[in-house]
């Protein structure tokens, strides 16, 4: 090796003997010490995450242990568990249940709507059609969320486009029947749970389509061919192969739709019947009443619900698709 180098000095010898400047020596050191590089890269985000997210969250939950005096409207630092205990009072438990049911039904319906779109994007669309679909799915996310929520109040209003269109299709009796159902209905579409549900589904749908599309994209076509080769009709192939293998994508998407619905406080204010959601309850407690300890106690609820939900979907393999 050394003889080869010395026998052809012009080609081989010039490079290593050039002095290394400081920058080059730094990059040499980092190349040879990958752990050092990793440490340098990870420390700032971990510090940020630790102080801004985790620490402030813990501080918030700690405030849930403080006492709020109903007469003086003042917070004292006496520790108590009564705020957390109050979560289980009927009025508060109603709020939790209402939000949870909405989050679950929005997730379920979004998955049903998203699946065919995602399937088409993953298995049939290519080139420009695919680009168009990506754009069409993501475009609504470029506009402000509040603008969209307000726009829906107009769309769903009594004299709005949706009622006009339903009338055009002669489906007004169907709508009136739906609105007369307890739990779903209300006076008008914009003040019904149905309307709120539609707005939630509209807003979070893209978050469901994309993970399902990604999971279907990873499905090798030969698996579907193998299934039909072994005698399965398309319906059986869907049930036994496509659906089970896209569960991780559905679960990943539902993590978004579920947690986003659970924490939302804008849509419940603008669309749907009176009755607080978890997010709006937090808003009322700390904003209008100034009962910071109770607001802090309420923030624990979505954290617990989402943790339980994550534990369930993790068992379904959801995190393989993230």
């Amino acid at each position: 090796m050394s003889s080869a180098v010395s026998s052809n000095p012009a080609a081989f010898n010039s490079h290593p003997e050039q002095p290394r400047n400081l920058l080059q020596r730094c990059s040499d050191a980092l190349y040879l010490q990958p752990q050092l590089l990793l440490l340098l890269l990870l420390t700032p985000p971990l510090l940020w995450f630790g102080s801004v997210y985790i620490a402030s969250l813990l501080a918030l939950l700690w405030q849930g242990l403080y006492t709020f005096d109903d007469f003086t409207m003042l917070v004292s630092h006496t520790l108590t568990l009564s705020n957390y205990a109050q979560l289980f009072e009927a009025a508060n438990f109603d709020i939790i249940l209402r939000t949870l049911l909405m989050a679950l039904s929005v997730s379920l319906f979004s998955a049903m709507l998203a699946f065919p779109v995602a399937y088409y994007m993953a298995r049939y669309a290519s080139g420009k059609t695919k680009a168009f679909f990506y754009l069409a799915v993501m475009l609504p996310m470029w506009t402000s969320y509040i603008v969209k929520a307000y726009a829906w109040t107009l769309l769903l209003a009594q004299e709005g486009v949706s009622n006009w269109f339903i009338d055009l299709l002669h489906l007004t009796p169907v709508l009136n029947w739906l609105l007369s159902l307890p739990g779903i209905g209300g006076n008008t579409l914009s003040t019904s749970n149905l309307g709120r549900f539609l707005v939630f589904t509209y807003i979070w749908l893209p978050f469901m389509i994309l993970p399902i599309q990604a999971s279907l994209e990873r499905l090798p076509p030969s698996l579907l061919q193998a299934s039909s080769d072994l005698g399965a009709t398309p319906a059986k192939t869907f049930r036994h192969v496509i659906l089970p293998l896209s569960v991780p994508g559905i679960a990943a998407g539902s993590i978004f739709t579920f947690s986003l619905t659970l924490g939302d406080y804008i849509v419940p204010q603008l669309v749907g019947p009176p009755g607080l959601f978890l997010g709006s309850m937090v808003y009322v407690q700390q904003g209008s009443i100034g009962n910071m300890p109770m607001a802090a106690a309420f923030t624990l609820v979505p954290i617990v619900l989402i943790s339980v939900y994550l534990a369930i979907v993790k068992r379904m393999g959801a995190f393989d698709a993230l």
Partner: protein, 344 residues
């Protein structure tokens, strides 16, 4: 006796490309039939036409005497072993094997018993509860085989199933596939680009080139009597001589001669075809040494010499002038019209 599979003037086009061009062929029941050819020659498309993943644009596919044209894969009594095995990753090995029986509505007890039987057939009886990801490539290959065979298909299609295995395993599986085929008496249709594989396992081989069958024959005849220039060079890479030199030596437009039938000598021999030329390349290949000689400007002829312990004669070196010779019987004249059509 009916034919297992018949192609009747079958065509399949993809846009401007004709992947399968008016192919007609009969595959007999119980035969080990290979489709051999380079990639893009149409052999895999032919297999997919039998499986039903593709439908012919023209002509017919007949399976066991019944027209299968237009039938979807799930209505055909054929099964496929896929190149990537296509095992269902979310099912255990035994559920993978029982899948075909499950979708056909066979009772659970019976389908599990039959799946276990199929596992034993491929010598993996203790692996039923594992997931495909926990198996080696060779084991996955056997599971794919068991999953196809458990349905007792009339025809088994194998799409380059040994391509992903290493050499030793591949040779072992070749023997096992042949044994299984004899034992079960099922028609095997085997697609490969590996000529050794096709020659060693098959009863008959169809050599594909540009969507057409160049030659359909037994392995011995393919090797010893190649009909076209393409077959001669694809199967066993024979030397193909054409034009003036072919006229002078054999009185034909083109002929093939196998490298192993050519001897390299320091002096000219008598009563044989003798040529002299310059050595351009020497390749040591272990069992053999390949010597390439330029006998006329631009005409290279390769000779294969067995390396033995006893005759350690010095090898020629590149640039040296040497003599090559072969028996007249070693020459096979080629169909020059089809040679021209092949355009190779």
């Amino acid at each position: 006796m009916t034919n297992a599979v018949e192609f009747i003037n079958t065509c399949r086009r993809f846009g401007d490309v004709t992947a399968v061009d008016r192919v007609s062929l009969n595959i007999a029941e119980g035969e080990f039939f290979s489709m051999l050819g380079p990639s893009g020659s149409g052999k895999t498309t032919c297999l997919r036409l039998i499986a039903g993943f593709e439908q012919p644009d023209d002509g017919q596919i007949v399976i066991h005497g019944k027209d299968a044209t237009g039938l979807p894969p799930y209505q055909r009594n054929v099964n496929t072993v896929f190149q990537d095995y296509a095992l269902f990753p979310h099912m255990s090995v035994i559920d993978n094997i029982a899948y075909g029986l499950m979708v056909k509505g066979v009772a659970k007890k019976e389908r599990l018993a039959r799946a276990q039987e199929a596992l034993e057939l491929v010598a993996l009886k203790d692996h039923g509860s594992r997931k495909p990801a926990q198996l080696s490539g060779g084991q996955r290959q056997r599971i794919a085989l068991a999953r196809a065979l458990v349905n007792r298909p009339k025809v088994l299609l194998l799409d380059e199933p040994l391509g992903a295995l290493d050499l030793k395993l591949r040779e072992q599986m070749q023997g096992e596939l042949k044994r299984l085929q004899r034992q079960l008496g099922i028609t095997f249709i085997f697609v490969t680009h590996d000529q050794t594989e096709a020659l060693s396992m098959s009863d008959r081989v169809a050599v594909f080139n540009r969507g057409r069958i160049e030659q359909l024959d037994t392995p011995q005849n393919l090797y010893n009597r190649p009909a076209t220039e393409f077959v001669a060079s694809f199967v066993g890479s024979a030397n193909v001589v054409r034009g003036e030199l072919a006229h002078k030596l054999a009185g034909v437009d083109a002929f093939a001669v196998r490298p192993e039938f050519i001897s390299v000598n320091n002096s000219a021999l008598t009563e044989q075809i003798n040529l002299s030329g310059t050595v351009t390349d020497i390749q040591y290949q272990g069992a053999n040494t390949r010597i390439e000689v330029e006998v006329a400007p631009g005409v290279l002829i390769a000779a294969l010499q067995a390396n033995t312990l006893l005759t350690e004669q010095p090898l020629p070196t590149p640039g040296q002038v040497t003599h090559i010779s072969w028996q007249t019987g070693a020459m096979v004249s080629l169909d020059s019209s089809r040679t021209a059509a092949a355009g190779a």
